[in-house]
């Protein structure tokens, strides 16, 4: 049914240390044909994706539901033929009604790659949401849905370079896969997470964070913690702590948050071609 061989190939020429107007976006496995755009910015390449895996729908059986916050829960699935993923990647998920009607959405993968045959997703409950609504009000262990993926080799972190992660709300989901991978493998490469939530109660994965994480609260915060958005000061503090070769920055959240955080990074001197953005729309 499904080809299970993962075929991750790290693109060798995808790591310009400085913004380079001539670095080819050689994301694919055929760098020989890579067309080089003669332009000022450069979107960096990353990981070639297995096209067959991306095209095949697989059955995923819900095995566990864990509440994270009043508005978010984690859904754990058994996907026996899951080909593996890299931290940061997402998948497409679909639900089917009795009349054949199908609803499909993208979800980031929260679990680290080493969780053999299982994946976890963390879903916000969106008001009036067709798919997240089903998960939060109907789903129970034993239910089956379908997934295809992993998708996008761009917002992916193989654990190779120092990673600076900035997320808000459920935008922390793909970043958590990176944090978990970093821990599970005992990686020594530097990793920092700046995570924004409305309040401590709404901070997803709150009990799992360690010294690598700085939480930022926008509406209410514990005593002694200021209330406010992710700011230039937060970003400056992280960038000041520059590892050899600099940071690879990953920004994830709503478009508004992604614009805000990526602009702060650029203003603080982070090269544009070392900022990867995943916008949830």
């Amino acid at each position: 049914m499904t080809e299970t061989s993962a075929s991750w190939t790290t693109s060798t020429s995808s790591t310009p240390a400085v913004p380079s107007a001539t670095s080819a976006p050689t994301t694919g496995r055929t760098p020989a044909t890579g067309f080089t755009p003669p332009t000022r910015f450069a979107v960096p390449g990353r990981i070639a994706v297995d096209n067959h895996t991306a095209a095949t729908w697989q059955r995923a059986t819900l095995t566990e539901i864990r509440r994270e916050t009043p508005r978010a829960a984690t859904f754990r699935f058994a996907v026996p033929d899951w080909a593996g993923h890299l931290p940061g990647q997402h998948l497409m998920l679909r639900l089917r009604a009795a009349d054949g009607y199908v609803a499909q959405r993208h979800y980031s993968i929260a679990s680290p790659p080493d969780d053999a045959g299982h994946i976890e997703l963390t879903l916000d409950q969106v008001d009036g949401g067709e798919v997240s609504g089903w998960f939060h009000t109907v789903a129970r262990p034993g239910d089956e849905v379908e997934v295809r993926g992993p998708l996008s080799g761009f917002f992916a972190w193989p654990g190779d370079r120092p990673a600076l992660l900035i997320g808000a709300g459920s935008g922390v989901v793909p970043l958590m896969s990176m944090v978990r991978h970093h821990r599970a493998r005992g990686l020594s490469v530097p990793l920092r997470l700046l995570v924004s939530a409305r309040s401590p109660e709404e901070l997803i994965y709150a009990s799992e964070y360690g010294a690598e994480t700085t939480p930022v609260f926008t509406r209410s915060a514990p005593e002694d913690v200021p209330v406010g958005r992710v700011s230039a000061a937060h970003v400056a503090r992280l960038l000041a702590d520059r590892p050899d070769g600099g940071w690879e920055a990953y920004v994830c959240g709503s478009n508004g948050f992604a614009e805000h955080a990526s602009r702060l990074l650029v203003d603080a001197g982070q090269p544009v071609d070392r900022i990867r953005i995943e916008r949830f729309g």
Partner: protein, 201 residues
């Protein structure tokens, strides 16, 4: 696939303008670019066509605006499943640019590239015959930066990742060369009516 227990979904809408698997995003216009939105002023923007053409050429903002204006009014479809109905984009038909550079008889494809380094590949046939534009207006105003302003490519009959934001140029080729998302597992053509989302669809 099996029916999902207890899933009814939204009330069904009969809408012949909605390609398979898409939903009507209404007033929303999600932004999904993977890179930092560039701060590109119209005065800095240029658009070039080169490769297999008789006369490669680069247009400045003013030179591009001097070509006959043309607008698209209709629908757009994003691979992430939203469609947006009845939008208006204003600019210049890509035919007007291509007529001036004259693609060679053996030309079959193009790579469109952005001022960010983003790339996407298209058959030449999808870029000609009044089906593609370089646009700088959305509705009655300038195209916002996060949606590709000052100017983007518009190929509305294909999924919207083909409509490269912050368009910088076209390289005309005699073969197909996958672009940014196409190398990341997305379909080479991306026809929403055939639901060509991922490679292999």
């Amino acid at each position: 696939m099996n029916v999902t227990r207890g899933f009814a979904g939204r009330p069904r809408v009969q809408n012949d303008r909605l390609p398979p698997g898409q939903y009507d995003a209404g007033d929303d216009w999600p932004v999904l670019s993977a890179e930092v939105t560039p701060e590109l002023a119209p005065a800095e923007w240029t658009f070039a066509i080169d490769g297999l053409v008789a006369e490669p050429r680069t247009w400045t903002w003013d030179e591009a605006h001097a070509l006959p204006s043309s607008a698209y009014e209709g629908d757009i479809h994003c691979v992430t499943s939203w469609s947006k109905f009845g939008v208006r984009f204003g600019g210049v038909s890509l035919d007007a640019f291509l007529d001036l550079v004259r693609p060679a008889p053996e030309a079959t494809h193009a790579v469109a590239y952005s001022h960010t380094g983003y790339t996407t590949n298209l058959p030449l046939a999808d870029l000609t015959g009044g089906r593609a534009w370089i646009v700088w207006e959305y509705g009655d105003g300038p195209l916002p930066a996060e949606h590709g302003g000052p100017a983007r490519l518009l190929v509305p009959h294909l999924y919207f990742w083909k409509s490269a934001k912050w368009i910088a140029g076209l390289r005309i080729l005699d073969h197909d060369e996958p672009g940014f998302w196409e190398q990341n597992g997305y379909h080479h053509r991306g026809n929403p009516w055939e639901e060509q989302r991922y490679s292999g669809d």
